[in-house]
């Protein structure tokens, strides 16, 4: 049995970054922008297939490389990344304009389950920019609605202007049967939606327990309280799924910077069930 990496997924992209052009930039919230990208090499672009939950390594020429999750759905969605400027490389990225180039390696990682969760109820719980990696799965599941049971989104941010993908949320609110609970931490002028922390929305949403998976992503404080409420509701630890982030340099399981427990986030993750997270024995 060969355990060599074998795929038709434009393997060249593993070690050498492929140039891609920024075709559009959208301001999301403070310090967060969405960059729509086109891979220059048409042959590679044609073969470039992603799974929801995977990530890429993005090179900002002259500054360095960073790992970033992929928000687009694998089906019929424009390729883009949403990035908060927080370090040296992401700040350099935010200075780029339409027409500039970045380098792409990937996609890497295991990705969210999709085929395995068909027929189940799906709950998404996100906080702040935790919506970015979940967006991929949300859009993908909505594109295949007939295959799933109840679909629930519980999303919270500090204030109305901290809500990611406002334009998507506006669409989602209109979708019949997509149960959305958008909440902000404390009341704000002109805000008509929910108020309070995301974990308090879970009982309110009357979430299903049997035949259900929950995707959770957000800052560690939010993560822990959401997990507690979901478990209290009766969800099992292997039906709670999250995606972790780590400092990464290579993306292909060599540099070891993303080691967590005995796994590597880049090749064994970034998607873990809560049952797995508990056995890692490390801070998330």
């Amino acid at each position: 049995m060969s355990d060599k990496h074998e795929c038709d997924n434009a393997c060249k992209v593993v070690t050498m970054p492929q140039p891609a052009t920024i075709v559009e930039i959208k301001d999301e919230i403070v310090d967060v922008k969405t960059f729509y990208l086109d891979i220059d090499d048409k042959e590679i672009a044609g073969k470039f297939k992603i799974k929801s939950g995977q990530f890429i390594m993005c090179t900002v020429y002259g500054a360095g490389e960073f790992a970033v999750s992929l928000p687009p759905s694998p089906e019929n969605d424009r390729f883009h990344i949403s990035v908060r400027q927080v370090g040296k490389v992401t700040r350099a990225l935010h200075k780029l304009q339409v027409g500039d180039k970045v380098g792409i390696r990937g996609p890497f990682g295991n990705g969210f389950p999709f085929e395995d969760i068909k027929g189940k109820n799906v709950i998404y719980v996100a906080g702040g920019i935790g919506l970015i990696p979940l967006r991929s799965s949300i859009v993908h599941v909505l594109q295949n609605r007939k295959d799933f049971g109840r679909i629930i989104l519980i999303y919270g941010a500090r204030s109305p202007k901290d809500l990611m993908y406002q334009y998507n949320i506006d669409e989602w609110l209109k979708i019949d049967g997509f149960e959305t609970y958008i909440t902000i931490d404390s009341p704000a002028e002109g805000w008509k939606g929910e108020t309070g922390f995301v974990h308090n929305m879970i009982p309110k949403a009357n979430v299903p327990v049997d035949n259900t998976v929950a995707f959770v992503c957000g800052p560690p404080v939010m993560f822990n309280s959401v997990i507690k409420v979901l478990m209290d509701q009766g969800l099992s630890d292997d039906s709670i799924i999250s995606t972790l982030e780590r400092h990464m340099k290579c993306g292909i399981g060599k540099c070891q910077h993303c080691a967590i427990g005995r796994t590597l986030v880049c090749t064994d993750g970034p998607v873990y069930t809560y049952r797995q997270i508990k056995t890692l024995g490390e801070q998330i």
Partner: protein, 351 residues
């Protein structure tokens, strides 16, 4: 099996120097340290030298290397990326079996998993390896405990074993055999297999100190580390002594963590450099935005010993990472080289 007179063993090195960049052990005139590095004159190689201060890991995995260069012209919106390839293959002459084992751990890690590391492959392919059996162990060695010496078992092209006034030359590959035939080496009769065994057995018997007292304990501790039944206090005790200097990782033949940095050059190109990194550094796991999931030193320290002393690394390395060279004990200012870690865990188990 072949024989070559001790005085003539340089012939092999000389023959290799014609087709390869030659690396070998020699005593550095200024510092008196044993180095294993590029040699222009095969005559300086000293096969009787002690194990080199730094393992020849940098031959396959340089301490710092430029893996590729790129040039981004923001005006023209053009990107040129060029991979940096070394041309001439390398030959290692007089490698000790612990260092060979370390290199094979790296081979498995970089080339034997899902993704193959092209830059490592580029350094490793076409490499010619001549190993040298240790006839007497050095003071800090414990390869007998880690199944990595004193004689190399596989993975070499030629293996030398000092027997009397000659070296027994064993070919481990077709290339090795070809070279031995080409040099017209004298054939050794079958009796030399037993003579070699006697030499190796004698070497095994002459280990002292840690290696003799802990032969079984290294496996037992490895078992404990694998199963995770070690109290946090033990790791905290070990962490308390760590200076976070990273020396143990740099002298370890099987440590492979690296960092990648883009460095802008004056001519407008950018070099992507990869360099050795150490899991003992605080910044190792720190993310942009300053979130650091592994802040306490013991959290980072025990990860290194998981790599060195655990079967859960088998998928990566095919064996626990420690090869028993003892260099970490040599360099550690905090006295937590691997032998002492084994001792501390042993103390905990027997408490």
């Amino acid at each position: 099996m072949y024989l070559i007179k001790k005085s003539e063993v340089g012939k092999i090195a000389k023959a290799l120097a014609a087709d390869y960049q030659l690396y070998g052990p020699y005593v550095d005139g200024d510092s008196g340290q044993v180095m294993f590095d590029r040699v222009d004159d095969p005559g300086v190689i000293d096969l009787s030298a002690a194990i080199p201060a730094i393992p020849p890991k940098n031959v396959v995995f340089p301490q710092m290397e430029c893996v590729y260069k790129y040039k981004y012209d923001r005006q023209k919106k053009s990107v040129e990326t060029t991979m940096v390839n070394s041309v001439k293959p390398k030959a290692l002459f007089g490698l000790r079996s612990c260092d060979l084992t370390g290199m094979r751990v790296l081979d498995r890690f970089f080339m034997g998993q899902e993704f193959v590391d092209e830059f490592y492959l580029n350094n490793r392919k076409r490499m010619f390896i001549v190993t040298n059996t240790c006839v007497t162990p050095f003071a800090q060695c414990f390869c007998a405990c880690t199944d990595s010496g004193p004689a190399a078992k596989e993975g070499y092209d030629l293996n030398l074993t000092e027997i009397g006034d000659s070296y027994l030359v064993e070919a481990g590959s077709d290339r090795g055999k070809e070279l031995a035939e080409k040099l017209g080496l004298e054939k050794a009769d079958d009796g030399y297999a037993a003579k070699k065994k006697a030499v190796v057995d004698k070497a095994l018997d002459s280990f002292t100190g840690f290696a003799t007292e802990n032969k079984a304990w290294v496996s037992r501790v490895t078992n404990r580390v694998t199963t995770g039944f070690i109290k946090d206090e033990v790791w905290e005790y070990i962490g308390d002594q760590c200076f976070e200097c990273g020396a143990c990782t740099f002298v370890c033949p099987s440590c492979s963590c690296f960092n990648i940095e883009d460095v802008n050059q004056a001519d407008g190109t950018t070099e992507r450099l990869r360099s050795w990194d150490s899991c003992s550094y605080e910044g190792y796991s720190k993310m942009a935005g300053d979130h650091n999931p592994r802040k306490p030193v013991e959290d980072r320290r025990n990860k290194r010993f998981f790599c060195k002393l655990s079967y859960s690394q088998s998928k990566k390395y095919l064996r626990p990472g420690c090869v028993g060279c003892g260099r970490c004990a040599w360099v550690c200012p905090g006295n937590i080289g691997l032998p002492n870690v084994v001792t501390y865990i042993r103390r905990e188990i027997t408490k």
